[in-house]
Symmetry: C2
């Protein structure tokens, strides 16, 4: 070979070292196990779909970002989320599915975003959704936060808050003010955290609202307290709008059931200023923040929608769900030094054969593996020091040396690579100790 191609990947794609990958996979496994524990079923849709189907909704940023191409006469696109494929899946297999249909999907999605730090063009989404056939109990809206709580707890987080709201409250409230198009106002309210109350008031005036309405909006977004307090304050606003009242009732029920599902109040709080995707969610909405790292933004979001699959079927399919963007989360946690990946090994023990004792080493490996101990035999020639160095570099926690003495006595020297401590054990004891 005279000319070599420089080995590199495209910008915006995450690729990890094996030790980082082990950690990434552990997080993914934890998420999956929690999804399954709550009775969600796996599906795995194709990465490539018909453009006509995937882009049925069309328009907006999505269409610009999508990876779309022709092969032969076929117009195809890479999926840009897992929600559109779910809508297509549920419509396509409607008659074979059992509702409420609880599905999870963990997979890569693709967006040709502008290249910038922390933004990925290929990333994992870990989605759950509960889809009803015609209707879906509001209690499902409480189970999603319970699952978020269970998942992030097991991922090792303690200080996180699921912020919850109900879009009906906002919608009803604006209806009561006879504001038809609240889009701009919601967008302004959404900036409360960023620009403060005074900033919001100023922008609302710029949008042409009279002082009376601004005051009411102010009263509304000033509602504070614990969850019960907020519900009670909302009722005290005396807004006589049906949608508003329904939203407050729903939120009350959801909050009550979230507690029943075992989520402590400090981990799930009403925040009336969160709204999320304006044209998609119709009721409950969630965002999740790490208390000590709010700058990471929401690490897990979702909500309730009235109609999953209106582009594919006339069936009314309401649902509620949430998504963890694992690639971005992993990247952010690593950037914030919240995960240490360098001390990770799946392999429990490296077996190092002395001189010609490879055969006996293989037999030791067989027995360890049979007992479920993840093991590797170092099969290459070389100095013993180099072999120990290999275990060390891979963070393999134990080394067993197999040589003349060991084979003769049946006692194997097991070295703890962290402490340097060595013990002589027969194989049965060694297995016990390694498990």
């Amino acid at each position: 070979m005279s000319t070599l191609v420089k080995p590199s990947i495209l910008p915006g794609f995450m690729e990890l070292t094996p030790t980082d990958q082990i950690l990434f996979n552990k997080m993914m496994d934890t998420i999956r196990k929690n999804y399954e524990k709550f009775g969600f079923l796996p599906i795995d849709t194709p990465v490539i779909e018909k453009s006509e189907v995937l882009l049925a909704k069309g328009g907006g940023e999505t269409e610009k970002q999508v990876y779309r191409f022709q092969k032969g006469s076929t117009d195809m696109s890479l999926r840009f989320d897992l929600t559109v494929p779910l809508a297509r899946y549920v419509s396509q297999y409607y008659s074979q599915l059992n509702f409420p249909f609880r599905r999870y999907q963990i997979g890569k999605v693709y967006r040709g975003e502008r290249n910038q730090k922390g933004r990925f063009r290929e990333f994992y989404q870990c989605d759950i959704d509960i889809i009803g056939n015609g209707s879906l109990s509001i209690i499902n809206d409480a189970e999603i936060p319970a699952l978020i709580y269970s998942t992030f707890k097991e991922l090792g987080f303690d200080a996180f808050t699921i912020q919850i709201n109900n879009r009906k409250i906002l919608k009803g409230f604006f209806d009561s003010l006879e504001i038809d198009d609240s889009t701009q106002i919601l967008r302004t309210i959404d900036k409360l955290e960023k620009i403060g109350q005074a900033g919001v008031e100023k922008e609302l005036a710029e949008l042409g609202l009279n002082p009376e309405k601004i005051e009411k909006i102010n009263a509304f977004i000033s509602v504070k307290g614990n969850n019960a307090g907020i519900i009670s304050e909302l009722r005290k606003l005396n807004v006589s709008n049906e949608v508003f009242i329904e939203g407050v009732e729903e939120l009350d029920t959801v909050i009550k059931y979230i507690r029943l599902f075992g989520v402590p109040e400090e981990n799930c709080k009403i925040n009336l200023s969160i709204v999320r995707g304006l044209d998609y969610y119709t009721g409950t909405v969630y965002e999740t923040f790490l208390d000590d790292y709010p700058s990471l933004g929401s690490i897990c979001s979702g909500g309730r929608y009235d109609n999953l699959a209106e582009y594919y079927t006339k069936q009314k399919l309401p649902g509620v769900g949430m998504s963890i963007g694992l690639t971005r989360l992993f990247y952010q946690l690593r950037e914030a030094n919240l995960i240490q990946a360098d001390e990770t090994s799946l392999t429990k023990v490296l077996i190092i054969p002395m001189n010609e004792y490879t055969e006996e080493s293989v037999e030791v490996a067989n027995k360890l593996r049979e007992a479920g101990v993840f093991s590797q035999v170092y099969l290459e020639s070389g100095k013993v020091g180099k072999k120990f160095g290999y275990a060390d570099k891979l963070s393999i926690p134990y080394v067993i040396v197999v040589g003349e003495e060991e084979v003769k006595t049946g006692l194997y020297t097991i070295r703890d690579m962290t402490t340097g401590e060595q013990r002589s054990l027969d194989l049965e004891e060694a297995i016990k100790c390694l498990k």
Copy 2:
């Protein structure tokens, strides 16, 4: 919505029902666990790579089948296997990796093949490879079949045979006959199973070989016996060619170590007629067949190669590996009725609330989930029969009913949905029983 888009996927893409997906995932998990047990490290490369990098080798069927497209000014392609990305990965991170580098990768690959039954355009490959830095002990060639054996055993197969050969034996043999280009001849020999010995002889004559050479080839491909017998017969052929002798020695060592790794001889047999990818493998080669279903073809193949990454680096990186094409395997097993997916559920119990006992049902679910029992509460309204029907359709094996009586006494009725048997247990006993 007046016009609906018909929900459908592209031909050549596999998509499963949730129950089939559970089984598919179980197979994938078993494969992964076995790969990890043998000390292989995970990597996860992007599905999209630079065309320049992915197609560095170029030519052949591959280039025609690849999904290649432009986004902006970037020429990109979807990976068509996991070997080229591995070569790129090892070259790119060479200085950070520890050799021998044992990696596994399980992921989707893409080939725009002609559309036909049982051929997929998107399919999972489950690859392992051991890469040496400059050299790699031949004993590694014996560990791959040990891992194949361990994996397929745990997948539930008993009657399967790993067929093994060494390309050097063939190469050396042809060199000894002064046949330079053995490609055509190997292709003919490869058809032995299909067209029989007479057919092979006829084709060899058509290729211009004289009777003496055909006789030697015949003697060679007629070598039969158990593994030790074949090795001994090969030695008796008295071929005085270095490469041939090296090949026989290697095969002898590999066979010996395969036994030491605990693989029974009935599951691993020398077959001198298998050759595999002619331009890639340079030593040991494997194919794996289900004894009772040879028509499925090889379900797991691989081998030894001299130089993994010649297009990206001047480092000599010999390796040995194998791959399971899981999507095709799953499809074939299902077509042959070798897997039954309809009785599969991850969820162990469905909790059915009577009347207004939803809150208590949620509390029961909390306790079951805390104890690790995968559970779902049926939260929708409706008749009890419909709710039992839901458990039945999803093959959820147990149902717990929560009503007045249960809450009063603390004794819950647990129904075994398979036998119809019902037992009254307190929650602690119920958990024990469900685990």
